[in-house]
Symmetry: C2
Subunit: 234 residues, 2 copies
DNA sequence: CGATCGATTGAGCCCTCTCAAGAGAGGTGG
DNA sequence: CCACCTCTCTTGAGAGGGCTCAATCGATCG
């Protein structure tokens, strides 16, 4: 395999594994390039593999029966996704699409099962990764239940900047193509409301927005929006 | 321990374990009664144990910094909760409270770790349980993003009836005390809106509501509300 | 240079929240 | 057994946040 052990051995999913075990695990993996806009897998299809994102960004989304699309998660470098098999699910409940040119490692589900049995640390790390995703999802439920669009929006931008931010002269730039539609689907809002809020923040000099790009010029201001405690609900 | 193996061996978390292993696992557990309204553990405190609900119902909730309470999950018989340790979290991100008199098994976190290592099936079942919770949480994110209060409300009632329903002459009764406030905190709404909708449904003969009780007389009508596809967003 | 996709902006409305007031239900103590 | 208190639930009136729909503009690409 063309993937160097040293390039991945320090990822959370391999934490604690020695180089040899790591290599053994990589041995069974398959590396592939995914062009921008291409799907890694589609919602509803049978689960064949488990995936690790090496480079790029992948959008994990679900389409509802009514045709609404919701972004469940945005995976950045080092993250695992499509781990439905490890959780005992037979068909993917979501789709995964590259939002920019990406590099993905994949393991056949069966091989991953065997590897997990052979390297308990791998199983533990998988559990931990899934646990983190659970935390994240529960946080989002709480946010969706209690916060206003402004707050969810600011929170989402800060989160993205934190994970995939890139320092520039102006502030922190979000590092990959991100449409207003993406943002809307991550916050449970609409492109119209998102556009309006971002425009308003841009007027105040807090952010810089352009086609598929957002730069946070004044993160403190966004943090203040998140913290803005209005009257609690009922 | 006063807990009979046969009473728990068929729970999902013990799936595949033979009676002997099962007994070995139970050996390290501690059984306790929790009176209605009493907390099993509190948000923010250190994680000492992992819990399995034997009888009753437990409300898993989080209080936000702004003072809003959100019900993350309602655990019914056979469910595990407070499994933060297995996911590598040091302090409980939520509180767990008995909504009726309940019986709970608990394992010290360290003991559970050792047992998981010794019985791989136990670890696998734990992963599966957490995976299901992740699915559930992601579903809720999607619902909160795309559905109206009516739909979330109907869905929640159907789900509760499905899990903890009790056939009666009139229909399916939800089997434990459930206040309008609980429902509001499960759906991301307010007691006022919940009360209004339930009143309206009661007028139409679809449900029967009284103090802390709901009976579904016409589940089909609720299912129709859930399926009601209006114009998709954006 | 046309076509397509993304972003912006305005007008209007509706769903849901907020606030206020009161009615039942149940529990407790005298 | 009644009075009282607390907790739950109901209902009304009103306001507003965010959605819907429509139209336009700008950018990118073949």
């Amino acid at each position: 395999m063309p993937v160097d052990v040293s390039a991945v051995s320090n990822l959370p999913i391999f934490a604690g594994l020695d180089a040899e075990s790591c290599e053994r695990v990589l041995w069974e993996s398959h590396s592939s390039q995914v062009a921008q806009g291409k799907a890694v897998f589609q919602q509803g299809v049978e689960v064949f593999s488990i995936y690790l994102l090496l480079r790029g960004h992948v959008r994990v989304s679900r389409i509802t029966e009514s045709g609404d699309q919701v972004i469940v998660r945005l995976v950045s470098g080092g993250g695992i996704f499509g781990a439905a098999h490890a959780m005992g699910v037979a068909t993917h409940p979501v789709s995964a699409t590259a939002v920019e040119d990406s590099v993905v490692l994949s393991w056949p589900a069966t091989a991953w099962g065997a590897l997990s049995a052979r390297f308990p640390l791998l199983a533990a790390n998988t559990l931990k990764a899934i646990g983190e995703k659970l935390q994240e999802a529960q946080n989002r439920v709480v946010e969706m239940s209690t916060e206003h669009v402004d707050q969810r929006l600011a929170r989402t931008l800060l989160r993205l900047a934190d994970r995939s931010g890139c320092r520039t002269d102006d502030g922190v730039a979000i590092n990959f193509p991100l449409t207003r539609r993406d943002i809307a689907e991550m916050t449970g809002s609409t492109i119209f409301t998102v556009s309006r809020r971002l425009s308003s923040w841009e007027e105040r000099g807090w952010i810089d927005g352009s086609r598929q790009r957002v730069v946070l010029k004044h993160p403190q201001a966004l943090r203040a929006i998140v913290a803005d405690v209005r009257a609690p609900r009922s």
